[in-house]
């Protein structure tokens, strides 16, 4: 029996005259791994901005674990268990890696966690991610891959029920991609549903149980990775006529 953790129905978002999303439906089941793909400008980032609360959709509604969160500000969604990482890492630059994790632990997870020592919890997360050795370094000085890991670690520290990972692997080497992929899979094994947005097809296909394809603000396909690969619409969207 699959229970949807997130249900978004009829999402429409306009910027002035430009329609970024048109009537998009999306659901994610508990513990599911969902891939979200589409060409540049197809509306992927807008969609997850609507899901995480960074933007409000003009039409349609979003439910998370049975609650309507359509008009809920982003921080409340984070507190309910919607976490996201950013395509371009946004560390809290004035803080150490460890302190970076304190923020979501103290805010997003505050009401839900049994109050163990925040530092211990943060160290646990860093250990899972493989950043423990860098705990006391300044976050602004991290390498590209560690920066991405910090993004995920911070999302993880919010103790999410749903993680939205926005191109966590762009620009990384093949080995680094595998590293990040492993982290996401491990996270998923602990019962967190994951929406992965990615351009690296190899990673998406390996990771996802189900894939949703957006093009020009509309959902054009949905199915297992295998189905998607064979879908002519998808091929046309990516390769053009």
């Amino acid at each position: 029996m699959t229970v949807p953790v997130l249900t978004a129905g009829g999402i429409t978002k306009r910027f002035g005259g430009f329609i970024a999303l048109q009537n998009v439906d999306l659901h994610v089941n508990a513990g599911e791994r969902l891939g979200l793909i589409g060409p540049n400008g197809s509306g992927k980032t807008t969609l997850i901005n609507c899901i995480s609360g960074a933007l409000f959709n003009d039409e349609g509604s979003i439910e998370f674990e049975g609650r309507n969160i359509t008009r809920m500000p982003a921080y409340q969604r984070a507190r309910l268990g919607v976490a996201r990482s950013f395509q371009i890492p946004k560390p809290f630059r004035s803080m150490s890696v460890l302190e970076n994790l304190r923020v979501p632990l103290e805010y997003a997870a505050w009401s839900r966690s049994e109050h163990r020592r925040i530092t211990d919890e943060a160290m646990d997360v860093l250990e899972q991610i493989g950043l423990k050795g860098r705990a006391h370094e300044n976050s602004a000085g991290l390498t590209q891959v560690d920066m991405r890991k910090l993004e995920l670690a911070r999302a993880l520290a919010a103790k999410p029920r749903l993680l939205v990972s926005d191109e966590a692997m762009a620009g990384l080497s093949s080995a680094e991609v595998d590293e990040i992929l492993e982290i996401l899979l491990a996270l998923n094994r602990r019962g967190v549903a994951v929406i992965m947005i990615e351009h690296i097809m190899r990673a998406v296909m390996r990771f996802s149980e189900r894939v949703v394809v957006l093009d020009a603000g509309q959902k054009i396909a949905e199915g297992t990775p295998e189905e998607i690969v064979r879908n002519p619409l998808v091929e046309r969207a990516y390769l053009g006529e």
Partner: protein, 316 residues
């Protein structure tokens, strides 16, 4: 441990201040010290929104002046010997509310809108005061203070001790804030607002809290001012120089750490007093301007940043 050292030095500062009033007879020193302390409260207050949260307030003079005018209005209504502590609390309330209101109007927008709004706010209030005859209007208001007060030799000694208490209080608040969960939330907002929001930080609420505290603290700094200068008119109370100092002092001291504005205020404030005595107040303004530009270009983290860098290098 850290806490104890802090509180010990707070008590030490207070005792030192009280001893000064006992041993020094020359009112001028208390005048100078009062100005320095007033600058310190302003700098600490500015830093709560500017340094901790990353929102620049150009209208510090507006909050300060409204604080001063709250006292004047209460003085007119209830007599000039109306208790100062109540005036201070009233000023905190009024200016806190202004901070909240202004924040509510503009803090949802990009930071520079807030900065410009603060500038506009100061001008709107200055115009209001210019036209409000009850508190003296454009011609200003006078306060005749008594020779001495309670157990102090002179009125200014009492004001000095009062301002010292307010300064220590605002430093304690700022320090507590800096180290707390709230402070970390503010720092997250400063570093990256979107990321902070997604990490569960209620950014608008925190910014409003921070703007309210800042406004209240500036009001507190302004409330005793009429009793200090004995003459207040809108042009001098809303003087842009107040606003520049409130920005320059934390910037020079360092904005990320609570001690930064304190160092900056003591240093710049003292230097200003010396320059006013020895050279001229014209150079005073130039001095602040150049210090500000030099520091933010060469040492953006201020003196605190320089010390940290130096320590890091030595530790290596």
């Amino acid at each position: 441990m850290k806490g104890r050292a802090f509180w010990l030095s707070m008590v030490a500062a207070l005792v030192a201040g009280l001893l000064l009033t006992h041993f020094i007879d020359n009112d001028y020193y208390f005048n100078a010290l009062y100005v320095i302390l007033q600058g310190t409260v302003m700098a600490v207050a500015w830093n709560i929104l500017g340094g901790f949260t990353g929102y620049v307030n150009f209208g510090s003079a507006g909050f300060f002046a409204v604080g001063a005018y709250t006292s004047i209005a209460l003085g007119k209504a209830f007599g000039q010997d109306f208790p100062l502590p109540i005036m201070i609390m009233a000023a905190a309330l009024v200016c806190g509310l202004i901070g909240l209101g202004l924040g509510y109007l503009t803090l949802r927008l990009k930071g520079v809108y807030f900065s410009i709004a603060t500038l506009a706010m100061a001008i709107v209030f200055e115009t209001l005061m210019n036209n409000w005859a009850y508190v003296g209007g454009a011609r200003g208001a006078y306060i005749l203070t008594p020779d001495s007060h309670l157990w102090f030799n002179s009125y200014i000694e009492m004001l000095f001790v009062l301002m010292l208490l307010l300064t220590l209080g605002s430093i304690a608040i700022s320090r507590a804030l800096n180290a707390s969960r709230l402070g970390r939330g503010l720092a997250a907002i400063r570093d990256d607002e979107v990321a902070a929001e997604c990490a569960g930080v209620p950014t608008l609420k925190l910014k409003l809290i921070s703007a309210t505290i800042m406004g209240a603290m500036m009001g507190v700094a302004g409330a005793p001012y009429p009793y200090f200068v004995t003459f207040v008119d809108p042009a001098s109370a809303f003087s842009l120089f107040v606003a520049v100092n409130a920005i320059a002092m934390p910037m020079i001291g360092g904005t990320a750490h609570w001690i930064g504005p304190v160092i900056g205020a003591l240093l710049v404030g003292t230097a200003q007093q010396v320059i006013t005595v020895t050279v001229s107040s014209e150079l005073n303004v130039l001095f602040v301007g150049i210090m500000l530009v030099v520091f933010i270009s060469m040492a953006p983290q201020g003196i605190v940043g320089l010390v940290q860098k130096f320590r890091a290098r030595r530790a290596r």
